[in-house]
Symmetry: C2
DNA sequence: ATCGTAAAGTGCAGTAACTGCAAAACGCGG
DNA sequence: CCGCGTTTTGCAGTTACTGCACTTTACGAT
């Protein structure tokens, strides 16, 4: 190998390795199924030792669904708080954006979605990871509710029950998490594709360059309209 | 032990053993924490071999959160479909009832709730197990929605979009799962807040014989009123 | 360019969850 | 009491994951 060791800084090298491992993990799982892929296989493909793998990722799952925890964008959060239009819609887009942001690589994102289709338990882990920032999101919702309540009632009088507003925010957040689940399910291509290992079909490279982005946005729009209609007639 | 061989039939013995293991598992986890309890410890306490343990329970988690999957009561389902009052409320009570039904033992139920308080990941597993019957519940909601739609529009004309109704039902189910999460969280005595005011001993052993049942119902009522208020003013 | 140091990578040994297999123990009907 | 099917068990093996000690590497200071 004529190339000397890459002159990259430590951090970028770390990131590169992490990305490489994640890609290999997702690829292998798509090929053979989650249970048939060992950590050692991922390590060999990624040219790192098993011990290093567990330095990068806390669990095998983490490498497949992604290591970085989701986080809320500052600007987006501020805008969300001070907005006054459809709360549910904005909350939902806020969270879907979060999910998409930590999968900046489109190929990796679509592949992960496919993995989720074949391994429902991983989907649940992902949603659980999302749930970890429930408190953050709840805080945002609370701030917005509080602001809105203060704006309508005026500075003078009607006592807005603070704890109730907190509860309301938390309830809303949990409910929207459920809706997010629903939307995420729509992103999965088709659950009736048997993940037969060594299948006769091509190795899955071709299917990814369809247009999934509009499909994702469409399904989100659909869910929103459905949600509005559902809530309008209880 | 000079005990004569238990005159129980095979099945009841099996059930008895399962219950005994579950109780020991929950007790040990409450005492030492989930990660500090090995399967072997549960086995020794329950006087079975490790291999038998895994014949009874698929995983270690299963013994702690309960083996039997939740299922919908026939009569209750029928009543739900043909009812016309508050859909969200009835759906929520339906699911909470399910959760409570598979914990017929009150002590075991409260202990499990405490375990969930100390081990959030187990709570998520439990909710995931709940999610497994999402399709069933969705079907119920769909049937109710369809019936209601048919009743209002009359047999003659307006075309009720079937797939849309299905989507609506699924969306609703997912959302209510989120609300269920919220309610379940309220059941947890959470951060060192004993269920009974005045008992400052807090050794964790005795606090269980308080009256948590009304508390559970109260929190459900609270959540419902919150939900109604939230949805009324979006 | 070289060197010292701290961080990153690695090997190894160990723990614990879980599985398959075959033998042993047991319950149940005859 | 006896055969027979089910349950339980021991045992060996796989795999995820961890702690520890050691080597390698990157990077700043000289």
């Amino acid at each position: 190998m004529p190339e000397t060791t890459t002159p990259t800084t430590r951090e970028s090298k770390h990131q590169a390795t992490a990305l490489r491992v994640e890609r290999n993990a997702v690829r292998l799982v798509l090929q053979h199924g989650f249970d048939n892929v060992t950590v050692d296989m991922i390590c060999e493909a990624s040219e790192i030792s098993q011990r290093t793998f567990f330095n990068y990722f806390k669990t095998k799952d983490a490498a497949v669904i992604g290591a970085e925890p989701p986080h809320v964008d500052e600007a987006q959060a501020r805008q969300f708080i001070s907005s006054d239009s459809d709360l549910l819609a904005e909350l939902l887009t806020l969270m879907t954006t979060m999910a998409a942001n930590l999968n900046f690589d489109e190929k990796l994102l679509t592949d992960r979605i496919m993995v989720f289709g074949q391994n429902p338990e991983l989907m649940h882990r992902q949603m659980e990871r999302m749930g970890r920032i429930t408190t953050e999101v709840t805080e945002l919702v609370y701030l917005r509710l509080k602001r809105a309540a203060g704006a309508t009632s005026g500075p003078t009088g009607s006592p807005v029950n603070e704890p109730d507003l907190r509860d309301q925010a938390e309830l809303l957040t949990h409910a929207i998490m459920g809706v997010l689940r629903f939307v995420a399910m729509r992103w999965i291509p088709t659950p009736d594709m048997p993940p037969v290992p060594g299948a006769s079909t091509s190795d899955g490279v071709s299917a990814t360059d369809a247009d999934p982005a509009p499909s994702r946005e469409q399904s989100l729009e659909h869910a929103l309209s459905l949600l509005r209609r559902t809530l309008r007639t209880p």
